[in-house]
Symmetry: C2
Subunit: 340 residues, 2 copies
């Protein structure tokens, strides 16, 4: 296998495509010698944008795809019908081993469906969770699952804990990551039916460091590195994080600008404040990997800019170097053998 | 029925009992001519504390209760065994019509269990939700249910929507409140099994103004006045609100104090900032009512101080004046008759 990580980037997906996608790709290849990016999308448009940039032409290549799946399109239909869309073309490159990873800021549903249908799961993996990194007080945690797998079963959650631990240890670099399950109280007897069923399975599961229940109040404080929950709850957590954060920051801005004196104060405090808030910004940490597939798929925020794209592309390199696919395959197989 | 609202206050419950409970009670009766507060707890301790205060002795009375249910105690056992606890004694006053309402900052589980077991539900009410008010960008929304009813059914959620609408309209004063169901996307076809089943029932339900799905990102922006969800999700939302808010404010403080210049700026901006953040503080809005009981029960935050206690006691007066119990009874009966 080559030492170069080949990444298919959906150059047409997201609010800021193609400009920010292209900028992010150029930024990433200029920083990393071990990466090649395929910009997937409408060739003419991409070529025009790319001409404005300075980069090694060996390391960025355009792959034509004439169609675009819009954010509002029903995913299953879109994947089936738009065979020449940037998402379908990029995913097929991963399936055909022409690329190691696919990155998109486009239609989330289409990315999730495409991953399962076009790339396929690792043998033994029951569900393929989408696992974004969320900012915490002093670092970052992996929230798994935030994807489309609502009404999951306990066995799915155990696999999420295992795959998430592998990712946090080898891609994010947290040694022996702490795994917690989202619950409504700290005690083992608390919870809904799914959590009560999953709790003892996580206690017994090998290869993870299970610390028990995590109340959502403790998530931003970084109580666990891998936060396990089913996708409905994960989606609520992810979006509420964003909602509370943005409303609070907006209110603080209004407060700072409400009087003349406070405006002066705000001007003085701004640089220091900005750098602290940056550490609580999800886009600093790159996109959300979809785990358990035969190849890597990463979904970035719909409003991703060049920096998030560049950070995500770097994540892909680490994912390949650390052989995350193989580690997940081994972990799931060991578990299946143990169960036989 | 008397025009005075009689409220049994658990003077022993919560982190700041009894001092802040007593201060809150004195504050409230000194402001409201139409309220009488029974301080339920250890008589000797309460009498000593009360002596420090100035108030009309006709309007505050001590009711002795020798036991205290601790925050960590298993609720069902505690309610069964500690018959002379402030929670059990106060709840029985409501059951025996000696009080119109019971307010506690103590063991949440015991308050929830006690409400159901000792006071009992209004006929036709299937579950009794706990419904805190949460701050939003420009006001407040009712999050219903955050109680102990995990794994709820769709018919429960419809009743939550109806009871919550009555509360928001007549106690909080929001005319024709908007009702939304917590979901992972804006479209009707999205969601888990419970949400998909509940959505059409809410569309058909009479007496409410259903606006559809609310993604959690939109909750802090105030998209709906009544936010319907089952208790597991509600609990996650409530505690995450608190967690993200407190971590973010802590980070902002650190940022403001990180350099000399920013410290000067922070000092200038402080008063304006403080008043904005206050509007995003849940304790400003009083406690969480438990709806659908034959009498009112309100749970305040465990760390409630005098101000929250005072605001909660005022809420109880409004609850009685607006005859919320009767309105809920009528609404549920109408629905039952319509279904027959």
């Amino acid at each position: 296998m080559s030492d170069i990580t080949r990444i298919a980037l959906d150059a047409m997906g997201g609010d800021n495509a193609p400009t920010e996608m292209i900028k992010g790709a150029v930024w990433a290849v200029n920083e990393n010698a071990d990466m090649k990016v395929f910009l997937v999308g409408k060739e003419e448009i991409l070529r025009r944008e790319l001409q404005k940039q300075t980069y090694d032409p060996e390391r960025i290549e355009i792959v034509n795809a004439d169609e675009v799946i819009e954010t509002s399109e029903p995913p299953v239909n879109a994947i089936r019908r738009k065979k020449d869309s940037s998402i379908v073309v990029g995913m097929k490159m991963v399936r055909n081993k022409e690329a190691d990873a696919f990155v998109s800021a486009g239609n989330s549903g289409a990315v999730l469906v495409g991953g399962q249908v076009l790339i396929g799961k690792i043998k033994g993996v029951e569900r393929t969770p989408l696992a974004p990194l969320i900012p915490t007080k002093d670092g970052v945690s992996l929230l798994i699952d935030c994807g489309a797998n609502v009404d999951a079963r306990s066995s799915h959650l155990v696999q999420f804990a295992q795959m998430g631990s592998i990712y946090m240890e080898h891609v994010v670099g947290i040694k022996d990551p702490k795994v917690g399950i989202v619950n409504i109280g700290a005690e083992e007897e608390k919870g809904n039916a799914l959590v009560k069923e999953t709790f003892p399975l996580l206690k017994e599961a090998k290869g993870i460091r299970f610390i028990g229940s995590v109340e959502s109040r403790e998530i931003p404080r970084g109580q666990a590195d891998v936060i396990v929950c089913e996708a409905f709850v994960g989606n609520v957590i992810l979006k509420l994080y964003e909602g509370v954060g943005s409303v609070l920051i907006q209110k603080i801005k209004e407060g700072l600008l409400s009087t003349f004196i406070s405006k002066v104060g705000a001007a003085l405090a701004k640089p220091a404040l900005k750098s602290t808030l940056k550490s609580f910004d999800a886009s600093e940490h790159g996109g959300a990997p979809m785990l358990g597939l035969q190849g890597l798929v990463v979904k970035t925020h719909g409003n991703a800019k060049a920096k998030e794209v560049r950070n995500t592309l770097k994540q892909c390199v680490l994912f390949k170097k650390q052989k995350i696919d193989e580690k997940i395959r081994e972990c799931i197989q060991n578990r299946e053998e143990a169960a036989e």
